[in-house]
């Protein structure tokens, strides 16, 4: 029990960033809940009572923001569980595997329970046709399952690059929106809950028995697996410059093509321009974010060539522009094609193109500013950029978008991008490779 509690505590407090997120998340939740309980409800259609609109908005959103913050506060759970579960030390720690499993389940259950409670409180605050007492169990189940998928997505994002990074980000985006669409339905256990439950079962089996299976059969299976791998066609370096190898930008087409499938799926699933545009804006930022590990990767280039740090920055910048050109090109083509097919208005189409381009370029330069690991400063910049992207996408997605507002927002994004570029250039001119270790936090940020 002590180990389980310690593990849960560790998931939420592993780093100053997660501690801050957890504290802020609980604070937001507590304030919002108090608001739901003690402030008079706002009856839809009847206007406000005794409260300003901004206060109403803050009260409404605070607990939900708190939940998202709490989830991200526990974002190191997959990395910590993986590190402990795959090691050999766990095999001699008494009760460690069971404790690890229980702690992961309890963490997901904690967030799911808080979400379900928030849902019930919110329905008392905003009376609707859905009865609050019917919502708790359903929300608990759906969010608990959904969170499992989100943790897997976070693990993927933290571990990999390229196409898997996109898939992980897509899963996170889907994970955030899925419960909203599922919980309100009248009855039956939704499919996402089954997927989540199956996921937890698989995780439990792997955690409890995986290492034994690996130890028992791993080396025996190694031979056939190696032979099978040799039989498969091997990836070959076909194009690109030498600089692409250390930077990991050799296969831009793979990422570009990898985007196509989720975008088409999203277009079929979300026919509302606002959701679809939001999705595309997030994907554009993800495609650019590969640069977050560039500083650590560039050391070998500096050693190999006679470039100064300033020259190195320009070369790396050019390489990423070339690399991001492919995914961005595909993104824009699909945006115009599917947007026209779905009947998005011409102003929306016109405003969406610079949004996607700015999303990609802003994230590219934001990633290049990360030269000393991820700190509060870069995290805050990332959240601000993502917020601005979302706000712009939402504004464009409106049925009658305010052109002046959209232009202002896109200009703000442009200004942010130019600032990031200046900051990145200055940091690369004084690049210290001892300080830019490529840790998991940086990869997750990417």
């Amino acid at each position: 029990m002590r180990a389980v509690l310690r593990l849960i505590w560790t998931y939420f407090t592993a780093t100053p960033l997660t501690r801050g997120l957890a504290a802020l998340g609980f604070l937001c939740m507590a304030c919002g809940m108090v608001g739901y309980l003690y402030y008079p409800p706002w009856t839809l259609g009847n206007g406000m009572r005794n409260m300003a609109l901004w206060l109403q908005a803050v009260l409404t959103l605070a607990p939900w923001l708190g939940l998202v913050l709490l989830f991200f506060a526990s974002s190191l759970l997959p990395a910590i569980v993986e590190r402990l579960a795959l090691g050999r030390t766990i095999l001699v720690l008494p009760g460690a595997r069971v404790a690890l499993l229980v702690s992961a389940v309890a963490t997901a259950a904690l967030i799911a329970t808080l979400t379900a409670l928030t849902g019930v409180f919110a329905l008392y605050y905003y009376p609707t046709a859905i009865k609050p007492e019917n919502v708790f169990g359903r929300t608990l189940l759906v969010v608990f399952s959904d969170i499992s998928v989100m943790y897997v997505a976070l693990w993927i994002v933290g571990k990999t690059r390229g196409i898997w990074l996109l898939i992980g980000s897509l899963l996170i985006a889907l994970g955030i929106f899925t419960p909203l669409g599922v919980i309100g339905r009248p009855s039956g256990v939704p499919a996402v809950a089954w997927v989540g439950i199956a996921g937890w079962l698989a995780f439990a089996l792997l955690l409890l028995f995986g290492s034994r299976v690996k130890q028992t059969f791993g080396r025996s299976l190694g031979g056939p697996v190696r032979r099978a791998r040799r039989a498969l066609p091997r990836p070959a370096y076909a194009s690109g410059a030498e600089i692409d190898l250390p930077l990991g930008t050799t296969q831009p087409w793979l990422v570009a093509l990898g985007q196509a499938l989720p975008i088409v799926a999203a277009a079929l699933l979300f026919r509302q321009p606002i959701v679809w545009l939001l999705f595309l804006a997030l994907l554009s930022a993800v495609a650019g974010a590969i640069t977050s590990t560039a500083a650590a990767r560039s050391r070998v280039l500096w050693l190999r060539h006679g470039w100064t740090r300033a020259e190195l920055f320009r070369r790396v910048e050019t390489a990423y522009w070339r690399y991001n050109g492919y995914p961005l090109g595909v993104l824009l083509l699909l945006y115009v094609a599917i947007g026209s097919y779905l009947g998005i208005s011409t102003p929306q189409l016109a405003f969406g193109v610079p949004l996607l381009a700015l999303g990609s370029v802003a994230s590219l330069y934001l990633g290049l500013t990360i030269t000393r690991g991820l700190t509060w400063f870069e995290a805050a910049l990332g959240i601000a950029t993502m917020g601005l992207l979302i706000l712009t996408a939402v504004t464009i997605g409106d049925k009658a978008p305010s052109r002046a507002t959209v232009i202002e927002l896109e200009l703000a994004l442009l200004a942010l991008t130019v600032t990031y570029r200046t900051l990145a250039s200055a940091r690369w001119n004084a690049l210290d490779w001892m300080a830019c270790r490529n840790g998991p936090a940086t990869r997750t940020a990417g």
Binding site: L84, V92, G95
Partner: protein, 290 residues
């Protein structure tokens, strides 16, 4: 006499039909400090993993505290400490948080010992693991394995990354543990001088077999270098010789199984009384592998 902590009988382990250990039998008794020596690939890590129950034996059986090692219950695990070759620390945590995490798995924890070692080894508790040097990480790993005062401490090449001062402190700590007659240490290392200073029993693995196991003093008495003054070329091979260096009037051989009978046999063969020289563990190890 106390029961042995570890009993292994006719252990064989093969991977992919390739044998790594053959018919190995041994015991670890309370108070033993066992140094495991062997070339790379000799099977040292596999042997330790079999004892820890990480992998099942292909044939034979290992018992730890009376339980089959592969199915070791929690109570028995609480009596085992293990330091892996490569640390398995969580990079995101600070050293202090890592300590608290591991501490939470044990019912007993020697806070005084841990505090003393933190001081002696100069471990910065607020330092994040990912920012620690390799040596600092290894010190922390060792600390985590010692904190619950295990009865059986198994260390797989733990000191390679430590500076000489930290190694000395670490070895002193092992001696302190071993001085408590109820505890045992099994230590594999390539730094033979450390094992020489520390171990009271030696296992030497060669080609997957326990080439030697026994008291260190017995090993030193058994394997010696003999110097022979010879007037004419030797007519026959020196019995039990591991290595032989022949000169015109002088021969030097490292022999095993040294005894009065062997001395007499060599004297008769060479017509001269051998001069005997004791060997360091490193010399013995090298002679066994030539």
């Amino acid at each position: 006499m106390q029961h042995p902590y570890v009993v292994a009988r006719e252990l064989t382990k093969a991977f992919d039909a390739k044998p790594v250990l053959h018919d190995v039998s041994f015991e670890v008794r309370p108070g033993d400090v066992i140094g495991v020596l062997g070339k790379n690939g000799a099977g040292k890590t596999t042997l330790l993993e079999l004892v820890l129950g990480f992998t099942p034996a292909s044939r034979g059986r290992v018992e730890v505290f009376g339980h089959e090692s592969y199915r070791l219950p929690g109570a028995a695990k609480a009596r085992v400490g293990f330091v892996p070759q490569q640390d398995e620390l969580v990079n995101q945590l600070t050293a202090g948080d890592q300590l608290k995490l591991i501490r939470s798995f044990y019912a007993t924890w020697d806070d005084a010992l841990v505090a003393r070692l933190i001081d002696v080894w100069d471990i910065e508790l607020g330092e994040r693991v990912k920012n620690m040097s390799v040596g600092q990480r290894q010190k922390l790993s060792i600390l985590l394995a010692l904190g619950h005062r295990p009865d059986l401490l198994i260390l797989d090449e733990p000191v390679a990354s430590l500076d000489p001062l930290a190694r000395r402190h670490f070895l002193e700590q092992i001696v302190e543990i071993a001085a408590d007659g109820n505890r045992s240490v099994v230590l594999s290392s390539h730094i033979v001088s450390d094992i020489e200073r520390l171990a009271n029993r030696i296992w030497i693995l060669k080609d997957g077999r326990l080439h030697w196991q026994g008291d260190f003093d017995d090993l030193r008495d058994s394997v010696v270098r003999v110097h022979l003054r010879i007037a004419q070329p030797l007519r026959a091979q020196i019995p039990n010789a591991l290595t032989v260096d022949l000169g015109r009037s002088h021969a030097t051989a490292v022999v095993h199984g040294w005894s009065a009978e062997l001395e007499a046999e060599i004297a008769e063969l060479t017509g001269t009384t051998p001069e005997v020289e004791g060997l360091t563990l490193e010399d013995i190890f090298l002679a066994m592998h030539r």
